[in-house]
Structures are given as structure tokens and as C-alpha cells.
Symmetry: C2
Subunit: 145 residues, 2 copies
């Protein structure tokens, strides 16, 4: 299969609020007031969890279909913790981003335990967002005046 | 500073469409029709770029303030490419997620070249989402019946 390119274009509406355009969709990213923001949207690291939830849903259904069981739906809880000290320049001892992320998937289905284990292993192996979180990726950041 | 915990709860509305709740915010993640979706929202990997754009905006302003120059705004373009073969189970030769991500930041400011270079280095070092993309993170995925 050929590579697919994804692209977004963003503008700052204020120091914490960002308007992001992805194809025809507009998304507002902001920070809560206790992180200095105007709280008009979910924040950047919540967007990461949201994207991961969406990706897990897609993979849950792709993998259920391959394993031949009916998946009526899934509920997904995601939690991650990070220390904001590096972001705010208070300390450089810890990493800036999530230290760990925990995902819990609750499938609505009749599949047996063994099938569910195979299903979960396949989701974990093949989820694009999970891959980008678990593993290092080349990221290049440039500026243009 | 103390760690901060971020959490989202998600429900599948159909095999590609996910409703994600993050604090008071509701987000719809979906897939475009050419990836088998119902195209009612940006897709999971576009959410990752959106979160990264939002995070770069916050960091751009935090770091400009520290360096003492006025940042009137930023435009941010993000592009990433991935191969969907693993997701669809067609091939396991390549990783599932983005192979590389390129970010271009256009600051609206009067700062000189040397200051801008310091500014960019600080953004790159301290952006939480950038950290989670560039570096490996512990991700644990469980199921619950």
C-alpha cells in the first residue's frame, strides 16, 4: 500500500488557544485556566488521548471483524500523567510529556477469553497512534520568518 | 511541581466514529470515507497533529515571554506520513504510525535570528506532545469485560 500524508494548518488565536484545520474540520485546542489558558477547548495532551481513543475504536472493530466476532461497541478510558515543570521552565529533571499512559478497553461482545486476548494483542500491535506513543518517531521542527 | 493527570472517556458511535469526553469537552473522531469511515470528524492521526499544533503554540508563547520578545502570533503547519498496511493487516513490514512528522512554525515577531534559534530550541526541548512523539513512552492497554 502507498503511504498516506496527513496535514494540518494551525493559527494561534491567543497564547494558549489554537485553531487547527484538518481537511474540512476545524478544531479548537486551548488550556484550562489553571494552566494559564482560556479554556475554550480540550488541551493538547487531551487531544493526544482523544486521538488514541479514536484509533483504538477503529482497531477494535477491524480486529474483531478479522477474528469473526460481532463487536457491538467499545468503551475506552485513557489516563496519562505528566509533570509540567519542564514546560514552565521550572526544572529540567523530568521529561515534558506523558510519563505513562494507561488504556482500558471494554468490548461489548460475546467472544471468549482466548479470542479477546488475541484481539487485544492485534490492536496493540497495529494501532497507529499507539505506535507513535510507544515508539520513537522522527520529528523535525523548523521555523520560517 | 506535582504531576497532573489527564483523562478521557470514549464511546464508539460506529466502527470508525468515536465520541470522546475530556472534562467538559466533547470531541468526535472519525475516519474519512476512503479509509472506511463516516467522515464526521478529523481522524485519529490528525488529532495527534492537532494536539501537537496546540502544544507548539503554547510553547511558542511561553518561550517568547522568557526571551523577552513580543510574539504577535504563530502559524504552524504539520505534516506526517504513514503506511496503512499494518493497520489493515496487509503487511507487517512497516510500523503502524507516522514514520516522520515535520513541523514548520512561522512566528509573527521582530526578534533577531539568534533569539529565534534559542526560542525554537527551547520549544523543541520542552513541548510535552513533541516529547511523546519523539521519545518512547510506557503505554499499557488492558481489557475489561
Amino acid at each position: 500500500m502507498a503511504d498516506i500524508k496527513f496535514r494540518v494548518k494551525a493559527n494561534s488565536l491567543n497564547p494558549t488557544k489554537t485553531l487547527v484545520k484538518a481537511r474540512g474540520f476545524e478544531l479548537i485546542v486551548d488550556e484550562p485556566q489553571d494552566l494559564g489558558g482560556t479554556n475554550e477547548g480540550a488541551n493538547p495532551v487531551e487531544f493526544i488521548l482523544a486521538g488514541y481513543a479514536g484509533c483504538l475504536n477503529v482497531m477494535a472493530h477491524v480486529c474483531a471483524q478479522e477474528l469473526g466476532f460481532e463487536l457491538k461497541g467499545v468503551k475506552i478510558d485513557l489516563v496519562g500523567n505528566l509533570n509540567p515543570a519542564r514546560l514552565f521552565g521550572k526544572s529540567f529533571e523530568e521529561r515534558a510529556g506523558y510519563k505513562e499512559i494507561k488504556a482500558t478497553i471494554k468490548p461489548d461482545c460475546e467472544a471468549d477469553e482466548e479470542t479477546i486476548k488475541k484481539w487485544l494483542a492485534s490492536i496493540i500491535d497495529r494501532c497507529p497512534v499507539g505506535d507513535n506513543l510507544k515508539n520513537a518517531t522522527d520529528v523535525a521542527v523548523f521555523y520560517k520568518k
